[in-house]
C-alpha cells in the first residue's frame, strides 16, 4: 500500500487553475496548429519569378485537400470501432486541419485580398474549392473504406510533401517539413489496418477488397497536373504530382500484396470538359460537406468566435 506523497497536493489543484487569469497567449488555446514558427512566415515575400495568383491557387489545392478530408475524418468521432481508433482518427484529422490552416492563411496572404483562413474555409462556394474528389467522398462510416482512403491519401500526400521539403516557398516548405512526420504516421496506421483487414477474417477481407474498389477510381486524379502546378514546378515552388505515381503505386502494391488483397483494375473517374477538382469542378458530395462545414459561420455574418 503506497502512502500519499507530500507533493501530490499540488498535482490536484484543479480548483486553483480555474481561478488563474486566462492567459490568451497560452499556446494551447490554438491547439492543433502547432505551427508557431510558421505563423511568422505566412507573410513572407512571394518567391522571385512566381505569380502570386498561382501560389495562392497552389496553397488552396494543398490546403483544401486536407481541410475537406479532415472534415470527413471528423465524422468518425464517437463512431469508431474501438477507443484507440477514436483517438487515432481524431489525431489524424487534427494534423490535417493544422496543415489546412497554415496553407489557407498563406493562400489568403499572397492573394492580397484580405481573406484569412476562415474567410477561405467558410465563405467560398464549391466552385472555388480546389481539392481532389478523393477528399470529399463520404465513406459512409465503413471502417474498411476509411482506412483504404487513408492509405491512398497518405501515401500520395507523403510522396508530395517529401518532394516539397525544398520548395522555394518558405511556408510550403515548412508545412512539408512538419507534414512528412505526420503523414508517415498516418500511412503507417492505414497500412497496419489494411493488413489486419485483408488478412483477418473472410468477412474483413471481402470488405477491404470492396473498399479498395470504392476508392480506386479516385486515384487517377491525384496524378493529373494542373496549369498552375506546371508553372510553379518551373519556379521551384511546386512538385509535379505525376512524378509521384511510381512511388505511390509501389507502396500500394507492396501493402496490398502483403494484405492478400488484389489491386483493382478500374478506370479513373472522368472529368467534365477536362475539368476536375483542381479546377473547381467537384462531385455532388462537396456541396453537402460545405453546407455542414459553413452552416454556423454563414448564419452569423460578421461574428467572431
Amino acid at each position: 500500500m503506497s502512502s500519499i506523497h507530500e507533493g501530490e497536493h499540488d498535482a490536484t489543484n484543479a480548483y486553483q487553475s480555474l481561478s488563474e487569469t486566462t492567459a490568451q497567449d497560452d499556446p494551447r488555446w490554438a491547439f492543433g496548429t502547432g505551427f508557431a514558427d510558421v505563423e511568422a512566415e505566412i507573410s513572407a515575400a512571394v518567391p522571385a519569378g512566381v505569380d502570386p495568383a498561382d501560389l495562392a491557387a497552389y496553397c488552396q489545392m494543398l490546403g483544401d485537400d486536407v481541410l475537406v478530408y479532415s472534415q470527413r475524418l471528423a465524422e468518425w468521432v464517437a463512431n469508431a470501432p474501438e477507443l484507440e481508433e477514436e483517438v487515432a482518427l481524431a489525431n489524424i484529422a487534427l494534423d490535417l486541419l493544422g496543415q489546412a490552416r497554415v496553407l489557407l492563411a498563406r493562400a489568403g496572404h499572397v492573394e492580397g485580398a484580405g481573406r484569412d483562413e476562415d474567410v477561405l474555409a467558410y465563405l467560398r462556394d464549391q466552385a472555388e474549392f480546389r481539392n481532389v474528389a478523393l477528399a470529399e467522398q463520404s465513406d459512409d462510416l465503413d471502417f474498411a473504406r476509411c482506412v483504404a482512403r487513408l492509405l491512398v491519401f497518405s501515401t500520395w500526400r507523403l510522396a508530395l510533401l517529401q518532394r516539397l521539403l525544398g520548395s522555394a516557398d518558405p511556408v510550403v516548405a515548412a508545412v512539408a517539413a512538419k507534414g512528412v512526420k505526420e503523414l508517415t504516421y498516418h500511412r503507417d496506421y492505414a497500412a497496419r489496418w489494411i493488413l489486419r483487414l485483408g488478412d483477418g477474417t473472410a468477412e474483413s477481407h471481402r470488405r477491404a477488397q470492396a473498399a479498395l474498389e470504392w476508392v480506386w477510381p479516385y486515384l487517377g486524379e491525384l496524378f493529373r497536373t494542373s496549369v498552375e502546378e506546371r508553372r510553379l514546378v518551373a519556379a521551384g515552388v511546386a512538385v509535379d504530382p505525376a512524378d509521384t505515381r511510381d512511388e505511390v503505386d509501389g507502396v500500394l502494391d507492396q501493402v496490398l500484396r502483403q494484405a492478400t488483397l488484389t489491386r483493382p483494375d478500374l478506370r479513373p473517374t472522368g472529368t467534365v470538359g477536362g475539368r476536375g477538382g483542381r479546377q473547381g469542378l467537384h462531385t455532388e458530395r462537396l456541396g453537402l460537406v460545405l453546407a455542414e462545414l459553413q452552416s454556423v459561420a454563414r448564419a452569423h455574418p460578421g461574428a467572431t468566435w
Binding site: 503506497s2 470501432p81 487534427l94 486541419l97 462510416l141 468566435w305
Partner: protein
C-alpha cells in the same frame, strides 16, 4: 498477503480500514472487501462510460464549428475524452473486469453514465456552456477523487482533472468571445445557459438526505464531500464567472448570503432528474442507440484484428 497467511478475515478487514483511515492508498493486489471492489468497479465504469457518451453532444458540432481554430480546439477536446475513457477503463481493469465486458454493460443499459449527457446540444453556444458548466461541475466532483483511497483511480483522476480544467477554461473563453460579439451570439449564450444551468446542478446527485450511498462511500474514502457541499461549491464558483460573462443564471432565488458566506439558491426540479436518470430524459434513447450502433458496426473490425493477431502469433511460434 499470501495463501499461507494465517490471519483471520477480520484481521484483513481491520488492516484495510486502517489503511483508509490513515489516508493511504489501496492498490490492486491488496485485500479489499467485495463490496468495496464492486462499488469501485461500478463507479469507475460509469465514469468511463460518461466520458465516451459525453463525446456525442459536443462531437456533433465538430463538423460545424464556426472557425478553424474552434474546430481544432473542439476536436482536440473530444479526443481527450476518448483518452479519459481509456485511462478509466484501464483503472477498472485493475479490479478484475475488462473493457469489452463493461462496454457490453453500457450498451445493454445495465450500467449508467452521467445523466447530463442525456440533454441535447442545440447550438454552438452549448459547446462553450458544456465546457464551462458541465466540465466545471465535473471538476468539482472529480478533484476530491484525486485523493480517492483506490490508487489506480486516484492517479487516473489527477491527469483527467488537469485536462478537464483546461477544457473548462476553453469553454469559458469561447463564451467570453461570444458575449463580446454580436447580439445574436449573446442571446445564443444566454439561451444555452438557461437550458444547462439546472441540469448542471443536478450533476451532484440528489440532496444529501436522499443519497443513501454517500455514507458508505465516505467511510471507504471513495467520496470526500457530500452532494450538497459540492453543489454549493459549484454555485459559488460559477456566480462570479457568470458576472464576468454578463449573463444571468436562471434562478430567481440566487443571492449572496453574507451570514453563511455562500450563495443561497433554488431547488432543481427533482422530478425531471428522476425522469432523466430512469431513462426518460430528452436524449437517453438517442445516446444509447448511437453508442450501440458504433459498437456493433465495429464488431467485424475487432474480430479481424483478433484473427490477424492470432495468425501472427501462430506464425511466430511455428
Amino acid at each position: 498477503m499470501t495463501a499461507t497467511d494465517a490471519r483471520s478475515p477480520e484481521a484483513y478487514a481491520r488492516e484495510f480500514q486502517a489503511t483508509i483511515d490513515a489516508d493511504q492508498r489501496i492498490e490492486p493486489r491488496d485485500w479489499m472487501p467485495e463490496a468495496y471492489r464492486k462499488t469501485l468497479i461500478r463507479q469507475i465504469a460509469q465514469h468511463a462510460h460518461s466520458e465516451i457518451i459525453g463525446m456525442q453532444p459536443e462531437g456533433t458540432w465538430i463538423t460545424r464549428a464556426p472557425s478553424l481554430r474552434r474546430k481544432a480546439i473542439l476536436l482536440a477536446k473530444v479526443q481527450d475524452e476518448a483518452g479519459h475513457g481509456m485511462y478509466l477503463y484501464a483503472a477498472a481493469e485493475t479490479l478484475g473486469v475488462d473493457r469489452e465486458e463493461l462496454t457490453e454493460l453500457l450498451v445493454s443499459a445495465r450500467q449508467k453514465y452521467s445523466s447530463i449527457f442525456n440533454y441535447p446540444a442545440l447550438s454552438y453556444a452549448d459547446v462553450g456552456v458544456i465546457g464551462w458548466l458541465v466540465d466545471g461541475a465535473a471538476i468539482c466532483n472529480q478533484v476530491p477523487l484525486c485523493r480517492c483511497s483506490y490508487g489506480p483511480y486516484a492517479r487516473a483522476m489527477v491527469r483527467i482533472c488537469k485536462e478537464e480544467s483546461f477544457h473548462q477554461r476553453q469553454g469559458f473563453e469561447l463564451l467570453l468571445a461570444m458575449c463580446h460579439g454580436t447580439a445574436a451570439q449573446r442571446e445564443m449564450v444566454q439561451e444555452s445557459v438557461n437550458r444547462w444551468w439546472w441540469p448542471s446542478l443536478m450533476m451532484f446527485g440528489p440532496a444529501d438526505g436522499d443519497s443513501p450511498n454517500t455514507q458508505q462511500s465516505m467511510e471507504w474514502g471513495i467520496k470526500r464531500h457530500t452532494n450538497d457541499e459540492l453543489r454549493q461549491r459549484f454555485v459559488d464558483m460559477s456566480v462570479p464567472q457568470a458576472e464576468a460573462l454578463g449573463i444571468t443564471l436562471p434562478d430567481p432565488d440566487l443571492r449572496w448570503n453574507a451570514e453563511r458566506g455562500a450563495h443561497d439558491f433554488g431547488e432543481p426540479d427533482w422530478s425531471e432528474f428522476q425522469a432523466v436518470i430512469t431513462g426518460a430524459g430528452p436524449a437517453n434513447a438517442q445516446r444509447l442507440a448511437h453508442r450501440r450502433r458504433a459498437h456493433e458496426n465495429g464488431a467485424w473490425v475487432r474480430e479481424a484484428a483478433r484473427a490477424y493477431a492470432d495468425k501472427r502469433a501462430k506464425a511466430v511460434s511455428a
